[in-house]
Amino acid sequence: MSSASMKPGLPGQAVSIAQPAWVRASHWLNALGVILMVLSGWRIYDASPIFPFRFPPSITLGGWLGGALQWHFAAMWLLAVNGIVYLALNLATGRLRRRFWPLSPAAVFRDLGAALRGQLSHDDPFHYNAVQKAAYVGAVLLLVLLVASGLVVWKSVQFPLLRELMGGFESARVVHFVAMAGIVLFFAVHVAMVALVPKSLRLMILGK
């Protein structure tokens, strides 16, 4: 694993790693986990839609409700275990603070304005701009919310505190759906940004 101690511009480190291997590994495992959870989740949703629409079965995973549930409750382990490892390593290595601190709404609006005018640079792979920070922290929070609301939908009796926080079983389903919609929106913008800044894909594969 690449050490987090490699810093930009350190002498003697001509090629420094901006994203250590554990970040890249957990990123792609998370991507796989989210895709499996969302596609199987759509199939489960279709069995009893909350809103007046269904997802086309052809873009869902599992073939039928029972299959989709099996996928969902298998991929949840990938998503949860990988997510815990990601958060733990971010805390332990100090990457969380280094990468995401400070983060203020003012900075997000400033950078968002700059980005929309085409003036936001992605030149330094060691620093996220405020929009990136907000988006990535937001994605992490959405995943935490998805896990918490999912626990209530799955185990409403065993997690009474979470259940009350979600406003009961029925609204936990709505929270789960809305958080899913949020992560799908993030995914769409994220992939669009990768298309606009292709070197970010290289960065997340090779680390530099």
Partner: protein
């Protein structure tokens, strides 16, 4: 209730082929003599598995399917470990009861079985000391408990209902059941079958329900009795129970054998 994705109510358009096949199988099974029916059922399960494979390109291999099945078995163990036998499901005021309470089964309401109350006997077997059949009158005089709880279907919808009946843990003690055994299995008048873990069977809110909303359990909700567990999904709550047995041999279940999670609860 014996809910499932193939209920007419909410089957997704793409699942219709699967639904038709299963409905057809069910019809054929009823027309066949018992041994043939059993063979057909086995083939039916394989067909169901086949539909699952063909319905999804990602699981186009037996390996993926059996891997998912073993994760589901692992999840059974995790859920048994998570299950706190003293934790109660929320209860609600009667004003919140869903009216009308939805009918749900793997067949239409007109096919719900007719059970003759006078001649009915509940068979109790397996690892119990008192292996005698019970009439409905004998069950009616046992301790009675009422609950207004939320019934949650595996499909995601839920409804609040009021059930009354014998606390199942007390019934098991009464018949001298081996409370260390792993499973309680159920056979139903509509050929449905399922099984539950012993800790859930002994949960204080698990009822051998004989009434719904203060009156005799009606046919559409499972006459003469259903096992009501607010800690389990609908398909784990068997209706029209005619036989129950305590065992250490995994009895499976109608939907569970087709891939629904066996623990299936909260």
């Amino acid at each position: 209730m014996n809910s499932g994705p193939e209920s007419i109510k909410s089957a997704a358009p793409g699942a219709l082929g699967h639904l038709d096949r299963r409905e057809l199988l069910k019809d054929v099974q009823r027309l066949l003599p018992v041994p043939a029916r059993r063979r057909f059922l086995q083939r039916g399960v394989t067909l169901g598995g086949l539909a699952m494979v063909t319905g999804c390109s990602v699981s186009d291999s037996k390996t993926a399917e059996s891997l998912l099945m073993s994760v589901s078995r692992l999840n059974d163990r995790v859920q048994a470990w998570l299950f706190d036998p003293t934790r109660l499901a929320p209860t609600y005021p009667e004003s919140m009861i869903t009216r009308p309470f939805p009918f749900n089964a793997f067949y239409g309401i007109e096919r719900a079985p007719e059970v003759d109350a006078a001649s009915f006997r509940l068979q109790v077997g397996g690892r119990v000391e008192l292996k005698r059949p019970w009439t409905l009158q004998q069950l009616a005089v046992l301790p009675h408990q009422e609950q207004v709880t939320r019934h949650i279907c595996v499909e995601g919808w839920s409804a609040i209902g009021r059930w009354g009946g014998v606390p199942f843990g007390q019934f098991l003690q009464l018949v001298g059941a081996d409370l260390q055994a792993a499973y309680v299995g159920f056979k139903c008048a509509d050929s449905y079958y399922t099984s539950i873990d012993m800790p859930t069977a002994l949960h204080p809110q698990t009822l051998l329900a004989l009434t719904y909303d203060g009156r005799t359990l009606p046919r559409e909700y499972g006459f003469p009795m259903k096992l009501r567990m607010p800690t389990k999904l609908g398909y784990k709550n068997p209706k029209h129970i005619v036989e129950l047995f305590v065992t250490n041999d995994y009895p499976g279940g109608y939907w569970e054998d087709q891939g629904y999670n066996w623990f299936g609860g909260s």
